[in-house]
Every structure is written in structure tokens, then in C-alpha cells.
């Protein structure tokens, strides 16, 4: 059977989740591999959520927030950006390719951009193949 990537996407409520809804109302198409989890602000995202997703078997994780300057909570997306850089380092040390975690800014009007992002993320992960961190962790557990 062909490898079907499992991707978890954390979307902020104000920009990116609305943008993903817009992709739907505009009937844009993207692969069903992306599963969206709504949070209020990208500033809420920390390493726990990302690592939990990998731990549960995700092959890729996406984080989407408002464009810089547009955050509904003024600056949550900047905090997200800082944490993202740290998490990137951290997962690489764990042996997870950095391409498996992606941060993107999607505004409420960018349904098309969201669909394209979902498409490209799926392709990138399909290329990388399954993430084996889960089995590794189980071995050590």
C-alpha cells in the first residue's frame, strides 16, 4: 500500500482557521492527509503539542498563524515564531527531519494559500516517507 502521510495542523482561530474555512467555502481541493486542530492563537503552541503529535504517529506537523503584525492578540505569532525555531532544533536533535515541522502565516483571506500549503506539505512528507520516531520511542520505552 502506498504511504499516506499523517499530518497534524495547528491553526489559530482568527486568521488561519478562518482561512482554512475559506478554502472550503471556495471549494478548493487539498489532500485529506491534513487534520486540523483549532487553537485560539499560534502563541498557544508549545513543544508539548508538536511532540505529542509526533509521538502519536504524525509524519508531519504544521503550525499556522496570522501574518506578522496582524495577530488578533497583537504579538502571539511572534512568540510562536521564536518557539518554532527552538522546537525545530529540538526535533532535529531527536532525529526528526526539520522539513516535518513547518510554520506558515495564513490570513483569513488566504484560502487559496492554505490549500496550496496543504498540498505542498503533503508532497514534502510523502517524499520524506514515514516518520519512525514513534517506533523508536516505543523501543526505548
Amino acid at each position: 500500500m502506498e504511504f499516506e502521510p499523517k499530518i497534524v495542523a495547528f491553526l489559530c482561530n482568527w486568521c488561519s482557521y478562518t482561512g482554512a474555512d475559506l478554502a472550503g467555502t471556495s471549494r478548493m481541493k487539498y489532500p485529506a492527509n491534513i487534520k486540523i486542530i483549532r487553537i485560539m492563537c499560534s502563541g498557544r503552541i508549545g513543544p508539548t503539542f508538536v511532540l505529542k503529535a509526533f509521538r502519536e504517529g504524525a509524519d508531519g506537523v504544521m503550525i499556522c498563524g496570522c501574518h506578522p503584525g496582524d495577530c488578533h492578540y497583537h504579538e502571539g505569532n511572534y512568540k510562536c515564531l521564536r518557539r518554532y525555531k527552538l522546537i525545530q532544533k529540538y526535533i532535529q536533535q531527536m532525529g526528526i527531519e526539520q522539513d516535518r515541522l513547518r510554520l506558515s502565516w495564513i490570513s483569513a483571506s488566504e484560502g487559496k494559500q492554505f490549500a496550496e500549503l496543504a498540498q505542498s506539505m503533503t508532497e514534502v512528507i510523502r517524499e520524506l516517507g514515514p516518520c519512525d520516531i514513534k517506533s523508536v520511542m516505543e523501543t526505548f520505552a
Partner: protein
């Protein structure tokens, strides 16, 4: 054995969901999960019978958690929360799984879509298990309203609210009220002099005891939340601190500057003017060339800066009819002149507009169509022997001919664009801009007046280019919304705030530094941080920053989200 009893409802949304997702299979697949008591599918969950179904089940099966798998929570979360309340259950013991906007409408493979829907519903079930009842809080509403912008929209809203005997603070950044209409001579399609209604309106606003007008004023800072805003307003050298309960942003527009468009030679060629400059001529009652001669041939070019991939993609919506208005006004003042209309598409929507087009087309007006993609009109100076000043070269679309239009005066119909300060003002009041830098409304169809920030409304051309009547309509709608809130006296506020478990808090104050609202303060006596829940908006940044895990965001707790991740991945593991 836990005492959690979950009811799951999968909506067909007619065929919207059912066509792409096997709703029965979804309901079956999650039916045997722990704590799920019943799992059903139904045609329209949001309909009255759909909600009745939930209420009935809650009572009959003693449900204490509900999951509805339907459209986006942005659309119907409140509907279902209300249904829970009607059944006597706390509104927050509810979770939605979005299987329409994020599944059925975006996927093409029914099997995969169904699989994804099951995963999302499992995530929701896992999450709802950890939901806690939250008590709603209401805050009193300050009956004063801040209106930003003293144009036709701002003034209409101000008068509407003031006439209900409520206080209005009207901010205008210019010296006088009136906005763009100060520069417009008459309206379309009825040719009413704008001064006929703008002047009395200004008078009313300036003399109304309930309206305080602040000219040359700007909003520097804004704090607070719906019902209880505090604004720092700059007037001259002074900064005032003003309290109010609601805000209407009616900051208006800015005309497009055609100078960067080389093909029109605006600013370089004499007798190439913008629509605003023509308005000025109409106001003085004289249309003249730069050499003071009366023009015999007047060309009006539409869509300058509008509907082009290079400048603004949107349609400014009023220029076509304004151009027709000019044709009539020019022909009235210069009956022997010839008018040319170079248009891209004639958009004559609205009351009386198509009639204006038909009537104008029977006059001395030649309509010539051009296609922005096929080259813009190019203006050059005519030779000394010509009987005109300027020559406009253009590919005429309907004939396919390359033609030359002689003109003494060329009027560029410049479109509207967002104000330079729109972005800054948007950040100050906490509302976002769309791709064209106009403010985004809460919902394009269902709520075109409110914004995503409670208590902040938009009106007029700052939301999208608008004509006078549409601006007034939107302004009055915003005023009505605000009066309704004021009349009620209080509003519900966010309960999904952060709170500190003071037993764990180590007093490091990281949270105090990251909070964008200053809602967390350090209590030195107790050596802990504490959240002011009125100021907190529930972004959750502090929760993630807390090194000890002492802070949690209500309704977005660690446990809830981690469980949701588990649920979403659960289905995937079965592959």
C-alpha cells in the same frame, strides 16, 4: 467507570456533507468509543428539529457531553451551545468537529474524506471528555460610543446613536467633518447636490448635545474590551483619556494616485486630470483647459488603478456611475462638446443606475471599451495642427481596432484605496485587514457590520469601496447593533481565560512579561502571579510560557488539546 456520557451527532448538511462523507459510517465508527452513549446522524443538525433531537437526548439519556460533527464552529458553535443550555447543560460541555469546510468541501475521495471525518470526530470526543463547565460572565456596558471618522458613515452613525440620547465621541483626523463628500459636487444617479445634505448633517452633528466632535484627532492607544474600552486620543498637543463601550471604525478611503501610471502622463501632460479635480471644476461651475479655453472634446477613462493585476484588483464600485454623471454634467455645461467614455466594463448596479446608463448612452457620448489585459490607453500630446490637445491610443475591444481618440481634456476615474493609516488603526483597535487593506468584517454575508473583535464595528468605505447610500446603511446598522447592546446594559464576555494555580506558581513572572494585555500581575505578598480575568482575552500565550505548568487556559487546556491529538491520530493507527 467514569460518569461521562457523550452524545455524538453527525450532520448531513443536506448533501453538503453527506455527498462526500459517509455520515452513517462516521456515526457507527465512533459509536463504540468509551463513554459514547449514543451516536446519530441527522439531515440538518442546526435546524430546530436537529436541536430538539439533542435536547431530547440530553434529557432522556442523561448526556453530559455533546459532540456535533457538522460545519465550522465559526458558524454554528453558538447555536449548539444554546441548545445545550436549553437542555440544562453547561454550554462549554460541547465540541464541534468541522467536517464540512475542512472535509467534504475540500476533498474529492469519499473514502478518504470519511476516514478523515472519523478521525476528527474521535478527536472531538477525546477532547470533550475533559471539558469543564464554565460560568458565563457579564460586564456592564459603558453607554458612550467612539466613532472614528467624520465622513458620511461616521456622521450618520453618530446621529443615529445620539438621537437615542446616548453619548458619542466622534473623531475626525482632518480640520472639518464631511470626509470625501466635501470634494463631491453632486450624487449619482439623481444629481442631488451633496451640500444639500452634508451641510445640514454637519450642522446637526456639531450642535448635537450628545455628540462631542474632536477634529484633528487620532486614537493613539486602545485598552479594554467590549463594553469597557479606554482610548487615548491625541488632539493637538493634548492626549485625552476617554472611556466608552463600543467603537465604530468609519475611517474612509483615499483616492488612488495615478501619477505612477506612465501611460496616462498624469502630472506631466497638461489637461490630464483626476475625477476629483473635475469635481472641483464642477463645483466652481467652470470646466476649462489649462489655457482657460473651453474644452470641446472630453474623454473620461475608467478603472484607473482599479481592476488591474498591477495596482488594485478590486472594483471601486462607484466610478462607472460617477463617470456617467460627469458625462451628463459636462454636456449640460458645454452642450456642444463631445464626450468619450473609455471603459473596461460598464457596471451599473443599483437603483436608477442602469437607467442612468441608458439615458446617457442616448446623448453625445461615445462609449469605447478597452481591456486592461490588452494594454491600457496611452495618452500623448497632439501635434500643433490637430484640433485637440491630446490623443488617446487604445485597443478598442468590441471592434478589435486600434483607435485614436482626440481630446481636449482627459478625466482619469481614480478608484478608492484603503487609507494609509488603515493598517495602524486596525492594529490599534485590533481588527484585521483583507488582502486589499480594507477591514475584514466578521462574516461576509451574515455579519458584514461587526468585526472579529467584540464591540468594534466597521462602516463605510474603510470596509470596502461603497457609495453613499451603502455607507449610510452600514453605519446605521452598526448604530442599531450598538444601541441594542447599550439597551441591554451588559454583555457576555470571554470566559475562556487563563488562570493560575497558585500552589504551583513559582513567581518567575514570565507570564507577566508575555501577556499582551497586561492582564497578569505579580502579587508580591503571595509571591505568585494572578490573572485579571476581565482583561484576559484567552490567547494562551502565558499558558505555554509557564515553566511550571501553573497557568492553564480555560477550554484550551493541555489535557484537552493533547487528548484531541490522540483522538485524531487514533484512527490513523488502525491503517
Amino acid at each position: 467507570m467514569s460518569n461521562i456520557r457523550i452524545g455524538v451527532y453527525v450532520c448531513w448538511c443536506g448533501t453538503n456533507i453527506a455527498k462526500m462523507v459517509d455520515v452513517k459510517q462516521v456515526a457507527e465508527a465512533v459509536g463504540n468509543m468509551d463513554d459514547v452513549v449514543i451516536s446519530k446522524d441527522y439531515k440538518y443538525m442546526c435546524s430546530d428539529p436537529g436541536q430538539e433531537l439533542i435536547i431530547k437526548d440530553i434529557k432522556e439519556h442523561k448526556l453530559n457531553r455533546v459532540v456535533v460533527s457538522a460545519c465550522s464552529p465559526r458558524i454554528h458553535e453558538l447555536t449548539f451551545r444554546k441548545a445545550l443550555e436549553n437542555a440544562g447543560l453547561n454550554a462549554y460541555l460541547f465540541q464541534m468537529a468541522n467536517i464540512r469546510e475542512q472535509v467534504s468541501w475540500v476533498h474529492v475521495n469519499r473514502k478518504e474524506a470519511t476516514k478523515k471525518a472519523i478521525a476528527l470526530v474521535r478527536g472531538a470526543i477525546n477532547r470533550v471528555r475533559w471539558h469543564e463547565p464554565l460560568e458565563k460572565r457579564r460586564v456592564d456596558v459603558n453607554p458612550a460610543t467612539l466613532i472614528i471618522g467624520g465622513g458620511i458613515a461616521g456622521m450618520s452613525a453618530a446621529l443615529e446613536i445620539a438621537r437615542a440620547d446616548k453619548q458619542v465621541i466622534l473623531l475626525e483626523k482632518e480640520k472639518e467633518l464631511g470626509g470625501q463628500l466635501r470634494f463631491v459636487n453632486r450624487t449619482f444617479p439623481d444629481f442631488i447636490p451633496t451640500s444639500d445634505f452634508i451641510e445640514p448633517m454637519k450642522d446637526d452633528v456639531l450642535h448635537h448635545p450628545r455628540i462631542s466632535v474632536l477634529t484633528e484627532a487620532n486614537l493613539n492607544e486602545l485598552h479594554g474590551y467590549i463594553g469597557n474600552f479606554i482610548g487615548h486620543i491625541q488632539t493637538g498637543a493634548k492626549e485625552l483619556k476617554v472611556e466608552f463601550g463600543n467603537i465604530i471604525v468609519a475611517s474612509g478611503l483615499k483616492p488612488f494616485n495615478p501619477a505612477p501610471m506612465e501611460n496616462y502622463g498624469y502630472g506631466k501632460l497638461p489637461n490630464v486630470i483626476t475625477s476629483l479635480e473635475l469635481e472641483k471644476m464642477l463645483q466652481t461651475g467652470e470646466i476649462r483647459q489649462t489655457n482657460r479655453k473651453l474644452p470641446e472634446k472630453v474623454a473620461i477613462i475608467h478603472c484607473v488603478g482599479s481592476r488591474s493585476s498591477q495596482y488594485h484588483e478590486f472594483c471601486s464600485s462607484t466610478c462607472c456611475m460617477t463617470a456617467l454623471k460627469y458625462s451628463n454634467q459636462v454636456l449640460d455645461m458645454l452642450p456642444n462638446s463631445q464626450v468619450y467614455q473609455l471603459y473596461a466594463d460598464m457596471r451599473a448596479m443599483g437603483k436608477g443606475c442602469e437607467e442612468l446608463y441608458t439615458a446617457t448612452s442616448r446623448k453625445n457620448v461615445m462609449f469605447l471599451m478597452y481591456d486592461q489585459e490588452d494594454g491600457l490607453p496611452y495618452i500623448r500630446k497632439a501635434g500643433p495642427k490637430e484640433d485637440c490637445n491630446l490623443l488617446i491610443e487604445v485597443n478598442e475591444k468590441l471592434s478589435g481596432e486600434r483607435i485614436e481618440v482626440p481630446a481636449d481634456l482627459v478625466v482619469l476615474m481614480v478608484g478608492m484605496e484603503a487609507h494609509e493609516q488603515a493598517k495602524k488603526l486596525g492594529q490599534t483597535v485590533g481588527i484585521s485587514l483583507c488582502g486589499n487593506e480594507f477591514y475584514i468584517e466578521k462574516h461576509p454575508k451574515l455579519d458584514p457590520v461587526a468585526t472579529t473583535t467584540d464591540g468594534v464595528y466597521v462602516s463605510g468605505s474603510c470596509q470596502s469601496p461603497k457609495n453613499i447610500s451603502d455607507s449610510i446603511t452600514q453605519a446605521k446598522a452598526a448604530a442599531a447593533r450598538i444601541l441594542a447592546t447599550i439597551n441591554y446594559g451588559s454583555v457576555e464576555v470571554e470566559v475562556t481565560t487563563a488562570h493560575v494555580n497558585e500552589d504551583i506558581c513559582c513567581g518567575c513572572q514570565t507570564c507577566v512579561r508575555v501577556c499582551p494585555y497586561g492582564a497578569i500581575s505579580y502579587i508580591a505578598d503571595d509571591r505568585v502571579s494572578r490573572v485579571n480575568e476581565v482583561l484576559c482575552k484567552g490567547c494562551g500565550t502565558c499558558t505555554t510560557s509557564c515553566p511550571t505548568g501553573a497557568i492553564s487556559s480555560r477550554h484550551f487546556t493541555e489535557k484537552q488539546i493533547l487528548s484531541q491529538i490522540e483522538g485524531v491520530m487514533l484512527e490513523l493507527m488502525e491503517n
